[in-house]
Symmetry: D2
């Protein structure tokens, strides 16, 4: 297919991809509750002729981290139906969100996977005329859930890509896998897909993110600097008591938690590289005059590599346990998210670079470090283990406010850019005429 | 009036006082939001012929501690109307709850005040058949508000006492004041009534509490051991930052708060007597990967006397300010409750004792220490300053669970007992035939 | 013996008892190193005809707490010889100080014991003309050891009492035991004497202290308020590391110790009574740029009774262990002192009172609380267990500065007063003519 | 001069340089007390014909950090005389150690400075036959002072270089400055020499260190990774009190210090690069039963650059002040050492490299990072400010134990190697025949 023809073909989808994005933005769903999103993706893919996989076929329940309790899941399944989801599809998920769509060209060739994360953030969207989604009527109708990171755009690109694939099936070979992953926020969902084998037949893996400080019309072909990370929820339980009458009868859980916080933040730095730890949330106590009998903490550790993350993580756990025991307090630690460090495949990165170079209106930015965590890393690692090649791309886009901010919004021009780059790559990797 | 006659007269009110109690229990209202309660008290007193005072006539707004924001007050005023309150009366309160009813006999004599606290606790009542109020259909219909301390009983006794007074007006002299105080929980309301002058003409002051570990049909004539106390809310504000990418850009408010908690609980004991301090609640943080930009704490200090409470309070404030400054964090401290130590008047205590002795089915328990705080202390102090006499009585009652517990309930037999004791005391102090 | 005669007999010893006191003051020896003191006591008692017991005959080595290492003991034994101690006697101690002198009258009667503590404090005496011992040339010649509590006076009274006993042997019956106890400071020595059986035949036990805030010529016949206490030394060992190059390689012992200190001082107060805890000394670290590999702490816990002391002690130990484990640090805890709560025997107290009343120049002060710890309590407890009677007396004396101060000195008039009271009591309890 | 000739000339000095080293090792003197060392250097240089400068001529007293009190200085001046120092020279120092020797060739040319640090560590040397200096009789005779870093070797090389210079004066041009700097340990002395102008006429500056993990016969021509650092001593003073009787009367300084320690170690890492902080020493308390009235801390902060060091330093000071104020404790902070980050001059580094390459028995090791602090950085910075060139070299040497260890010793072969490299460099930079 000629460059010009492809670009036109992509541009014709611009209105559609924007409409998809705004629909997902409006019906934002947080990690593991993306039932309406899942339903729409599945229906769309089915109509296009993809084989659609759902629920336990693509998610290993034991590896699904940070998932809400089943009654909350049920409420969200119900809400999804009320907001236009397909009940039949939603029931089929058995409570596990995410979709994998597979298209087999029937012609021998590589299996290429594209991964899109579909969840929103736990955030309240700004209700303010300076915020375009609110002004133009597509801000979130679901309180406490907001697409403040751009995954609405990722999902929209995925559906538009599906349509393009089908439109150009005659020139493609091999197999194409579109992986719509739930619960990327908090790095909770990717591992469950990997463990279920979703990546086990993939030769080329491509994923990416919009925004991240890059201007519109720029592309970073291969990001580095994925931080290894572990997310834990900590539940401390002790014994309350009247703080005036019988202070000795309590096990003061707030003191135990304060002790843990102080000491966790005192873990020494490491000469081997960057480490981080954060007790991001602490809630403790039931009343002013009661010795606090409970505390809940949200904690994350990070490291430039897995060893460094383990260094901080192990010390954190040791401190948490000893601080609890010091006060006779029960301590339950639940791992609710996890990701690793990974390096993009050099050869695939070079292919990305060369394809982007063919699009002269896009500018290449090299050497970008993520400086954060992204659980696509588990997928890339799995692909590399099988000698496949994985790469993670940044698609530049001006933003109205930083990622995770209540006024986050992005220049929707990035959507066709991303679509174009993915399409070019697919045409290169799975082209019937190719090597 | 003969003993027998009086007892019969009180017993005839038993059903009524129980009915009052259960009604107040069902429509429980927390401190400063007792609008339906206020309305019913005011209406009842008016009908009985009392002069009724409300709002700023009995409350000094500047001394009203721990009062919710005005929009919350408004919502509760509205709810009170919906739950049967009289809109006219409620409007008259101008947002300040509580009632003072005055009856002047026209005959020269002392002014005797009885004080009843009317607020519920901030608690969710048990919904469980083992809990009588739930089983019998009078548990709280207002989520988050529950009479778990017995103030519903106090209020009921107050209304029944009003009726008895009117019925026996011909044998009474002087003036009778019935003080229905809002917001005793958290020791927030009494000071505002004292500052408004409600106690300034009182010669005898009587108040009391049901329960407190004494069995049904026992009475402690004069309690000691009121702890001096101060309640504060603390608001810390700092600066959030991405905990992985830019930890140095935040002012970690959770660390400041944890530091404050540790050091506040390290304030040394005092050789002069009992001191207490409790950080009962700490809530901090907005997300796992964000340096916590905020913290809210509920704290109380106590002492066997005002000096000891000040010792702990001053150190607490100093620690709070320095811990905040250490991290470049803003610190706002609001005093939301306060009470003092006081000693019952010996002569009035002796009168209580002698009147109870005349009721052979009641057993006297001496030397009870409150071991907690009660802002009636401000009222007693004020009465003593004017050379009046004040006393605080415990009315024994078996309870189903401890005070402030979600299953708190009491033996309603205490209601007539309390009513009887108060009536006897009034007949003694304000008897036309008396000295 | 007539009152007048006894008083004269005591007064004749005034110069001698003062001389004894000043000699002991000058050659002050700290707990477990009182070899010269022991030697002089033993020699004096021997000459007077007492049976003298030393070393393991009176000390149970396993119960001797807070004793220095054997090489330090040896150095002090040598010093004692150089300062006039008798080498033969000192060798006989086998390193364990203290003396018990026994005199059996041969006439059937009770065994009465008097106990005198003989050790100095670990303190440097003021070298200043405002300090009488320095000005008059009897201040301590042993750096780091000073009689700053008055035990020099106690010992002097003991030797004078021995002489009086011998002088009046003809009117006494039963057995008299003079117990010169080592290492009372830090409550280290009494238990070892009790465990060795020194108190097992005692019917009456008397001990006391000079000073303690009472004026000269006053006597408190029976002190209350002995605090139960435990003294511990804590040794933390971790791993050093270059703080700049490899901070992760160390186990930061100072952080572990700081964590322990903060949490130990946060142990909640107890509604059952007074508790105390103090980390009195912390020494940690080897150099500015080294992660601290060591820490040493001196800690004490106290309680109004044994349960309250145990409450604080158990929590302290739990905190110490968890704080160490939190940092991977080794923790060794050694008990170096201990005492208990005890109540004087009422009947013996009454006897003391009545004997003091016979001395009109002495004023009785009642209801004094020690407010501290004194290991004579172990001895009294042992005597009481065998149905004997024990009492602890305060002998008032003006002091130049508080106990343990570098300028402590006392009005030596107290010496004859104490001697007189002890003599009177002995004449009463062991009088041949008595019941 | 031919290579061979030069090498022979250096080798002939081997015995002498070793003898110098062992003499300095034996009479180790800590920073600012190097009076004997100063005396010997000055005498030797004088005899060789150098102009010798001492005391306030080369030290700015106001910039001399971490200097002991004047009475300690006096004692060490006296000791130096007793250990063979020249009283006249020592008096001339007026208490300020260090020597600058200047030799002007009289021929126009550059001024080249060599800097040698002369102080020992505050350490007790191993007395153990496995330790060669002890076994061979040249271990330190001054308790608490030990050459455990190799400055004895540096000083020895400096004196041997002086002799070589004089021997080859006929082929040299320009001016040669030999700077013998006191108090490098704790980075206390260099700034005072810079402030006094010692570096103000220097065109080439060379210094270096032996050991540092490099094997014998290796050379790193230009080290990087000098950490910016600040050293502070902190003195906290509060009020003691009897911990049992009147805990409220004390200002617990140990609690203040423990609070400071915990929070200092919680200073967040910085995304801009490496930061370090260490409370290396904490000593607090006077007795087990006394609320600790005092604390002394040795602290250091470091950063990859001055901004990062300031980031940590400013936060440390803020914490120290607030922790003190929290407990009503006085806080005095004294800066006792300081150094900066610096980069060797590229051109001079290249010259070093090329000269070492001419010595085939030496192996070049590149890219060594100091990972610590060295106050020669102040000198290099000053030289660079004047457009001169500075370089810092590592001279490899096997060591018996790590730097600062009580068994530190080095392979003395390094002494001739260093001497050779310095001589080669001087011959290159100040050669009359050179450019």
């Amino acid at each position: 297919m000629h460059e010009k023809e492809l670009i036109d073909s992509v541009n014709r989808l611009e209105d559609k991809v924007v409409a998809y994005r705004r629909d997902f933005h409006k019906y934002a769903e947080s990690g593991w509750t993306e039932f309406r999103t899942t339903s729409i993706i599945a229906e769309t893919l089915q109509k296009l002729g993809f084989e659609v996989r759902l629920g336990r076929d693509i998610i290993d329940p034991d590896s699904a981290m940070g998932r809400p309790h089943s009654d909350i899941i049920k409420k969200h399944m119900e809400r999804a139906v009320q907001q236009g989801g397909n009940r039949e599809i939603i029931d089929k998920t058995e409570g596990y969100t995410g979709v994998v769509g597979i298209l087999d060209t029937g012609v021998k060739g590589p299996t290429t996977a594209f991964r899109f994360d579909i969840d929103a953030n736990d955030a309240f969207e700004a209700e303010d005329d300076t915020h375009r989604p609110f002004r133009e009527g597509f801000s979130s109708v679901n309180p406490g859930a907001m697409h403040a990171c751009g995954h609405d755009g990722h999902t929209a690109v995925g559906l538009a890509l599906a349509e393009l694939i089908v439109n150009h099936l005659d020139i493609l070979k091999g197999k194409i896998k579109l992986i719509f992953q739930p619960a990327e926020e908090g790095v909770r969902g990717a591992k469950a897909m990997v463990k279920r084998g979703v990546l086990d037949d993939v030769d080329y893996f491509l994923s990416g993110h919009i925004g991240f400080g890059l201007e519109t019309n720029t592309i970073c072909p291969a990001v580095s600097g994925f931080l290894s990370t572990t997310k834990i929820d900590v539940d401390y339980r002790g014994k309350g008591a009247h703080a005036g009458a019988n202070p000795e009868k309590g096990n003061n859980v707030l003191l135990a938690a304060a002790c843990a916080v102080m000491n966790i933040h005192s873990i020494p730095p490491h000469s081997g590289g960057i480490t981080r730890v954060n007790v991001g949330v602490l809630n403790s106590g039931v009343g002013r005059n009661v010795v606090p009998p409970n505390a809940f903490m949200k904690i994350e550790t990070r490291g430039e590599n897995s060893e460094l993350n383990s260094y901080v993580y192990d010390k954190t756990v040791k401190i948490l346990k000893n601080a609890a025991d010091m006060y006779g307090v029960d301590c339950r630690i639940e791992k609710v998210g996890e990701s690793i460090t990974v390096k993009c495949d050099d050869e695939l990165a070079e292919i990305v670079r060369s394809e982007v170079l063919k699009l002269p209106f896009l500018k290449i930015i090299e050497d970008r470090s993520l400086g954060g965590s992204e659980d696509a890393a588990f997928m890339i690692e799995r692909v590399h283990q099988r000698n496949g090649r994985g790469c993670y791309i940044l698609f530049g886009s001006a933003v109205a406010a930083g990622h995770h901010n209540e006024k986050f919004d992005f220049d929707e021009k990035v959507l066709v850019n991303a679509l174009l780059v993915y399409t070019k790559l697919l045409m290169r990797l799975n082209n019937r005429k190719g090597d």
